[in-house]
C-alpha cells in the first residue's frame, strides 16, 4: 500500500478498494464506517487529553508557574491519570433530577462535537465527509450542543445549573449569528461552501492575506464569537466559577462530567480548526507569490503538520484570551454581540462583496 504523508488520498482509496474487493458492498461500507468512527473517537480522546494538558501548561506559563510536573516526565501523563480517576469515580445523581434528560445531556453535547468534526479536512484525503455545503452543515450542527447544555441545566434540579444553562442558551444563540456571518463573509470571498474547495482556493495565498481588510475583520470577529461559542473565558458565563460554582455541570460527576469537559475542548479544537481552514489556509503551506525556493521549502513540510500548527496557533490565542481577561456580565455579552459584532459583521459582508466585485484582492 502506498503511503504518502503529503497526500492521503491514495491511502484512503486503497483501503476502500481493498475492502470492496474482499467483502460485499454493504459489509465493506459498514466496516469503513466503523473504522472512521473508531479513528475519530481515538482522535477526540487523544487530542482532547492533549488539549487539557496544553491548557494547563499554557496557563501555568502565563501565571509564571510550571504546571503539572509530577506524573510522568513534565507531567505528560497527568491528564491520563485524571481521566482514569474520572472513569473510576462514582456517578452521583441528585434525587429529584430528571433521570432521562440528566443522563442524555452529556451525550448530546459530545455528539454535536462529533458531527462538527467530521467535515474538517485534516490533510489532503483526510476528510470523512466532503459536503458541498460544508460551512452550512458545520454552523448547523455546532449549535446542537447547546441543547445538551440546556437539558443538563434544566434536569439537574439545581438553581445554579439552571442559571448557567439559561445564560449559555442566550449566549450561544446570539453568537451563532456572528460565527455564521463571519464565515459567510469568507464564503462570499471563496465562492464555495465546500471545505476542500475553500482550502484549494488558498493554494497561492491564504484568505487572510488575499482578502486583506475584510478578511482580517472577519477573522477577529470569528475569534471573538468562536470563543463565546465554546463557552470559554472571558465568555465562560455558563460555568462562571466564582458566581455559579460550576454552572450547568455542577451536579455531574465522574465520566459524565468528563464528557462535558472533553466536549468543551473538542469544541475549542473545532472552532480553531475552522478558523485555520477558512482564514489561514487549512493544510496549505505558506506560499509567497514568486519566491520559488521559499515556497519549495514550505512544501516540504507535510500538510497535516501545517494544519495542526495553525490549529494550535489559534488555540493558543484563545487560551491567551482566557488567561488575561475578566469575565463579561450576561447583559454585556449580549450588548457586545448585538451592538458591536453584528453591525460590524453586516458592514463587513458588504465590504467583502465590494472587494470581490471590484476584484480588489490578491
Amino acid at each position: 500500500m502506498a503511503f504518502n504523508i503529503y497526500d492521503f488520498t491514495t491511502l484512503t482509496h486503497n483501503i476502500h478498494v481493498g475492502l470492496a474487493e474482499s467483502f460485499s458492498p454493504f459489509v465493506a461500507t459498514t466496516i469503513e464506517w466503523v473504522i472512521v468512527g473508531v479513528v475519530y473517537l481515538l482522535f477526540i480522546a487523544v487530542f482532547g487529553l492533549f488539549l487539557v494538558y496544553a491548557e494547563r501548561k499554557v496557563c501555568a506559563a502565563f501565571q509564571q508557574r510550571l504546571g503539572p510536573m509530577r506524573v510522568g516526565p513534565w507531567g505528560l501523563l497527568q491528564t491520563i491519570a485524571d481521566f482514569i480517576k474520572l472513569l473510576m469515580k462514582e456517578l452521583i445523581m441528585p434525587r429529584k433530577a430528571d433521570y432521562f434528560l440528566y443522563n442524555l445531556a452529556p451525550y448530546l453535547v459530545i455528539i454535536a462535537s462529533f458531527l462538527a468534526i467530521s467535515v474538517l479536512p485534516f490533510a489532503p484525503g483526510l476528510q470523512s465527509m466532503d459536503f458541498d455545503i460544508g460551512v452550512f452543515y458545520l454552523t448547523a450542527v455546532s449549535s446542537v450542543g447547546v441543547i445538551g447544555i440546556l437539558l443538563a441545566g434544566w434536569s439537574s434540579n439545581n438553581k445554579y445549573s439552571l442559571i448557567g444553562a439559561m445564560r449559555s442558551g442566550a449566549q450561544i444563540l446570539s453568537y451563532e449569528l456572528s460565527v455564521s456571518l463571519s464565515l459567510m463573509t469568507m464564503v462570499v470571498f471563496a465562492g464555495t461552501m465546500q471545505f476542500s474547495a475553500i482550502v484549494e482556493g488558498q493554494r497561492d495565498a491564504w484568505f487572510i492575506f488575499s482578502g486583506h481588510v475584510p478578511a482580517i475583520i472577519a477573522f477577529v470577529v470569528f475569534l471573538v464569537a468562536g470563543t463565546a461559542e465554546t463557552n470559554r473565558g472571558p465568555f465562560d458565563l455558563a460555568e462562571a466559577e466564582s458566581e455559579l460554582v460550576a454552572g450547568f455541570h455542577t451536579e455531574y460527576s465522574g465520566i459524565k462530567f468528563a464528557m462535558f469537559f472533553l466536549a468543551e475542548y473538542i469544541n475549542l479544537f473545532i472552532i480553531s480548526a475552522v478558523a485555520a481552514t477558512v482564514f489561514l489556509g487549512g493544510w496549505m503551506p505558506l506560499h509567497f507569490g514568486n519566491l520559488e525556493s521559499f515556497n519549495h521549502v514550505m512544501d516540504f513540510i507535510p500538510p497535516f503538520i501545517w494544519f495542526f500548527g495553525k490549529v494550535l496557533f489559534v488555540i493558543f490565542i484563545i487560551m491567551w484570551f482566557k488567561w488575561t481577561f475578566p469575565r463579561l456580565r450576561v447583559d454585556q455579552i449580549l450588548t457586545l454581540e448585538w451592538k458591536y459584532l453584528l453591525p460590524i459583521n453586516l458592514v463587513n459582508i458588504l465590504l467583502m462583496a465590494l472587494v470581490v466585485l471590484t476584484k480588489f484582492h490578491f
Partner: protein, 377 residues
C-alpha cells in the same frame, strides 16, 4: 423547605418569578464560610441577607480568660491579613491604659510593618478581585508580590501571617539586620510591578464595564452603615484613622487620604490601588530614618490594667479596627470587644447589590474585601 420558612419569618413572601439561592457557606466567591441568602428574579438580585457566624470562634470570650500579652496572639487569627494592625491596636490600648510611652524606634517599626501588611493585604485583595471577575491570572501575580512581603515578615517576626510581633510596650524582637535592605529592595521591585496591575486590570475595558456605576453606596449610607476603610473612602467618607487620630509614627509622615466621590465598585477598586502607592511612599519616608533606641519598654511581669474602660482604634487594611477593654483591675480584661471593619462593611451589601445582577453581587462583595474570621470572630 428551610429556606421558605426563613422567608416567612422575615414577613416576606416570594412572588411567582422570584426564587432563593443560598450562596455559601460553601461557595467559591464568598472566600470562606459566609452564607448569603439571595432573593433573585432571573439574574436580578432583589435582596441579599448575609448570615454570619459559621466560623464564630468566641475570641472575645477567650480574651476574658487570658492576660493582655496573650490576647495579642488571638488577634492575629481574626483578620489574618492585617495581623500587624490588630496586634498594634491591642498593644496601643494597653499602653494607653498603663500610660506607657514607647520609644520612637518602636513607633517607626510598627508603622512600617503596618504599611507592609496593608500592601500585602491590598495585593491579595487585588488578585482575588481579579479572580472573582474571572481573570484568573491576576491571582498569581498578586500572590507573587505578596510572598516577598511575607518573607520580610518571616525574617523579622518569625511567622508569615500570624506574626504576633507587637507586645504591650514595644515589639517582640528588634528588626532583623537585613530588614531595611530587604524592604528597600522590595519597594524597588514592586514599583515596577504595580504599573503592570494597572495595565492588566485597571484600564481593561471589560473591568470598567463590569464595575463602573455598579454597587452605588452614597456617603450618607456609608456613614449610617459604618462602612470604613477603602470601601468607605470610595464613597467620599473621610474616615482614615491614620489621618484623623494619628497613632504610632503617622504624625511624622506625609501622606494623602485617598478619597473618591464616585461611590461605585470601580471607585473602591481605584482607592485600593492608589492606597498601595501611598503605602509605598509612607514606607519610603520611614525606612531610612528608623531612630536608634530600644525595641521595647521594660514592662512588669504581670500586666494589670487600672479599673476603667479603654478604647483604641487603628486603620486596618479594610477599615477601622477598634479594641474596647473594660478592666476591673485584674490581669485579665473584664470584657473585651473588637470593632471589626468587615462586620459593618458586610451589612451594607444589601444596599449596594439590590437591583444588580448576580455577577455584580460577586464583584461588589469582592470590593468590600471581606475576611470571614474578621466578621465572625
Amino acid at each position: 423547605m428551610s429556606e421558605i420558612k426563613e422567608v416567612i419569618i422575615n414577613n416576606d413572601r416570594l412572588a411567582t418569578d422570584e426564587y432563593l439561592v443560598n450562596m455559601g457557606p460553601q461557595h467559591p466567591s464568598t472566600h470562606g464560610v459566609l452564607r448569603l441568602l439571595v432573593k433573585l428574579e432571573g439574574e436580578k438580585v432583589l435582596n441579599v441577607q448575609p448570615h454570619s457566624g459559621y466560623i464564630h470562634s468566641g475570641i472575645e470570650k477567650m480574651c476574658e480568660a487570658i492576660s493582655y500579652p496573650q490576647i495579642i496572639h488571638l488577634t492575629d487569627r481574626m483578620d489574618y491579613l492585617s495581623a500587624h494592625m490588630n496586634n498594634e491596636a491591642v498593644a496601643l490600648c494597653v499602653e494607653k491604659a498603663l500610660q506607657v510611652e514607647v520609644p520612637d524606634r518602636v513607633k517607626y517599626i510598627r508603622t512600617i510593618m503596618d504599611e507592609l501588611s496593608r500592601l500585602a493585604s491590598h495585593q491579595l485583595w487585588w488578585c482575588v478581585f481579579g479572580m472573582d471577575l474571572g481573570a484568573l491570572t491576576t491571582f498569581f501575580y498578586g500572590l507573587r508580590d505578596r510572598e516577598l512581603i511575607l518573607d520580610i515578615f518571616e525574617e523579622t517576626c518569625g511567622a508569615r501571617m500570624t506574626v504576633s510581633y507587637n507586645t504591650p510596650g514595644g515589639l517582640m524582637a528588634d528588626i532583623h539586620p537585613n530588614f531595611q535592605k530587604r524592604v528597600k529592595d522590595y519597594l524597588k521591585y514592586f514599583k515596577t510591578k504595580l504599573p503592570e496591575y494597572d495595565k492588566l486590570l485597571s484600564g481593561n475595558v471589560i473591568l470598567k464595564e463590569r464595575t463602573e456605576g455598579i454597587g452605588y453606596l452614597t456617603k450618607e449610607d456609608a456613614i449610617e452603615y459604618g462602612v470604613t476603610g477603602p470601601s468607605g473612602r470610595a464613597s467620599g467618607f473621610s474616615c482614615d484613622v491614620r489621618k484623623h487620630v494619628p497613632y504610632s509614627a503617622y504624625p511624622f509622615v506625609k501622606f494623602n487620604e485617598i478619597l473618591d466621590h464616585r461611590c461605585d465598585t470601580y471607585a473602591r477598586y481605584e482607592v485600593r490601588i492608589k492606597e498601595m502607592y501611598e503605602s509605598i511612599s509612607i514606607i519610603e519616608q520611614l525606612i531610612d530614618n528608623i531612630p536608634a533606641g530600644d525595641y521595647a519598654v521594660k514592662m512588669k511581669g504581670v500586666l494589670k490594667l487600672p479599673e476603667g474602660e479603654f478604647y483604641q482604634r487603628v486603620e486596618s487594611a479594610r477599615g477601622e479596627f477598634g479594641v474596647f477593654i473594660v478592666s476591673d483591675g485584674k490581669k485579665n480584661p473584664y470584657r473585651l470587644k473588637f470593632r471589626s471593619p468587615g462586620f459593618s462593611n458586610l451589612f451594607a451589601l444589601n444596599k449596594m447589590a439590590t437591583g444588580h445582577k448576580i455577577a455584580d453581587l460577586v464583584a461588589i462583595m469582592s470590593t468590600l474585601d471581606l475576611i470571614i474570621p474578621d466578621i465572625d470572630r
